[in-house]
Symmetry: C2
């Protein structure tokens, strides 16, 4: 009864475009936003694709996101810019700010853009992929609503604050890193909860800051743990990374940081106080030939990828993956099968269809 329904990628994308258009998003920008969500679905990151469309729709319909934002560069230098996203969709502000970073890199060797007054921007991994096409190394980070406790803390203070970066190969595929800085994604807690299963220690704490194996304890005012989990396994390092992302995205841009990042879902409690505008992103682009001959660089990435694949495998495994492998595998399969959408999300899409009048089928 929980079998997914398979949609051709193009069909889901077209539906997404028309939904955004119907809510006042200009045509080009609706396409851009749909591209970002489609990249997530095709790459197997189900949590960040059309599964989130309803939330974007809610926020647009409630007037909480501006469908036609004025996106402004408020400060800049040869290699930097600070962008005010005009409270637009992160799915639109993100790609535009990322493009500013890439354009700066074309001229100054690198480009670094911090963004305030923006909203959830989809998967971080989408952005560095754009840089690859220009023979640049791409970086993307974003802060997000609080969900993670600092090491030795008993409450949510930081977001899952992902870091993405990608390096192009020549004959071998690119190294594409896209990782939240917490031990595991919230989605894993939800899955265990729905299945009535316990979770491993090291994933989450309850509302009093105690380690828990009950997913419900985390969901009821508990918190996720940072990458590394406890002191013994260097949970302070995941905490440090989350702080780094928060500062680059939000403190540097003038967005809300830490526990004050506004919630994504419309039903969540607003933040206790405002310390800036919206959430924040950070993009970087580095022209490879500003450092090294591009062909040489790519040949060395090929060599590195092959070397990593030749690592002696740990017992019971087929050896290390190369960052980006799982997403590439999903993309191959889904290009063939279509995008599997679970019944709950199909219902969401049907609801969006009713709300907007855009047919799903």
């Amino acid at each position: 009864m929980n079998e997914p329904r398979y949609f051709p990628p193009e069909k889901l994308r077209e539906f997404t475009v028309r939904v955004f258009q119907s809510l006042g998003v200009p045509d080009d920008e609706a396409r851009l936003a749909a591209d970002v969500l489609a990249a997530s679905d095709i790459r197997g990151i189900d949590s960040h694709g059309v599964a989130r469309l309803h939330t974007y729709v809610d926020l647009l319909r409630a007037g909480r996101i501006n469908p036609r934002p004025t996106i402004t560069v408020v400060r800049e230098s040869a290699s930097t810019a600070t962008v005010d996203g005009g409270n637009g969709l992160g799915l639109v502000v993100g790609p535009k700010a990322n493009e500013i970073a890439m354009d700066k890199a074309d001229k100054a060797g690198t480009g670094w853009v911090t963004v305030c007054n923006t909203n959830h921007y989809g998967i971080a991994g989408y952005y560095p992929l754009q840089a690859l096409a220009r023979d640049q190394i791409g970086w993307a980070m974003t802060n997000t609503t609080k969900g993670v406790a600092p090491l030795w803390g008993a409450e949510r203070m930081l977001g899952t604050n992902p870091i993405a970066i990608a390096f192009p190969g020549n004959e071998e595929p690119a190294i594409v890193i896209d990782m939240a800085t917490c031990a595991v994604a919230y989605g894993k807690i939800e899955i265990a909860h729905r299945a009535g299963k316990s979770i491993p220690t090291g994933w989450a704490i309850d509302k009093d800051g105690r380690d828990t194996t009950n997913p419900e304890d985390m969901m009821t005012d508990g918190a996720l743990l940072p990458l590394g989990s406890d002191r013994e396994h260097s949970g302070h390092k995941g905490y440090c990374l989350a702080v780094m992302v928060d500062v680059l995205c939000a403190v540097l841009s003038g967005a809300n940081w830490g526990p004050f990042a506004p919630p994504f879902a419309i039903r969540q409690k607003p933040a206790e106080r405002s310390v800036g505008k919206g959430i924040g992103h950070f993009f970087g682009a580095m022209r490879i030939d500003a450092f090294r001959d591009v062909a040489e660089f790519k040949a060395q990435i090929d060599d590195l990828v092959r070397t990593l694949r030749k690592t002696k495998p740990a017992p019971g495994t087929s050896g290390p993956l190369v960052p980006g492998d799982p997403e590439r595998e999903a993309e191959q399969e889904r290009s063939r099968t279509g995008i599997p959408v679970v019944p709950a999300v199909v219902e969401d899409l049907e609801d969006i269809s009713r709300l907007t009048g855009i047919p799903l089928d």
Copy 2:
């Protein structure tokens, strides 16, 4: 019998300067190198200060490090440079390359420098501290000799590859992050070994790739695990970070990457093949006012630091620290007590004194 001997910081530093001078390092550069080691000792990172002096001495005496390197910018753009360190001391090449990054940032907003043909550069955390003094955000990374297995690998393929970054506050101290990308430092394995204690699971594997609690298993052809440790706790993320550092430091600069990074200690086996020159570093500097008014930025960092300190503490703790706290605490104490040097390291220093003719006392 294992009581440390306390040295005034100035005395250790002067000894270090004279030792480097005696081995042919020019005066200014000997001071620079001694500064980096002294910063480690005063900040409580005993593994990276004078405890390593003997290895630098060994390598200089063996002609494996050039005491008077020609440090060359081999490629550059407005915001970037690629530096060939001339096989000099990393303790000299590092500060000079870092300065190039900061100078670039003064002009272009940011500066990014990748370095090949260099050697071990001390603590990564030293470098961002230099940027703070110029109202810049500083970054430093370095690759290192292999010691860490990729997730699902059964052998050493990557270094402990640290990441450091620092953000200045105004009334509050700076946020200073300096972290290896593996679960724990090799030093912790050694300490357990010397004490005849077992180590927690999640720190290391044995030569067959199996989890082990016996420190000797790791030391005998085993490997450290990446931050996150196992698949369930996202060991792939620590692995991704180590790869990121390796590419930015070594693939981008033309240094040796992954398992081919040359060993630091003179007794270790040389790498299987050469894929570049020496090891690699990566430095970044971002002028804060290229993004945001400096006073505003610092006021927000103060607010963030205070907010983090007010986090509800987890049971049995006094609440989260701010990144940099442990090192600041050590610095305060050691400024008062002097630098505690354990007997094994005192013996090392006495041996260096015999070898170089520089008096320790």
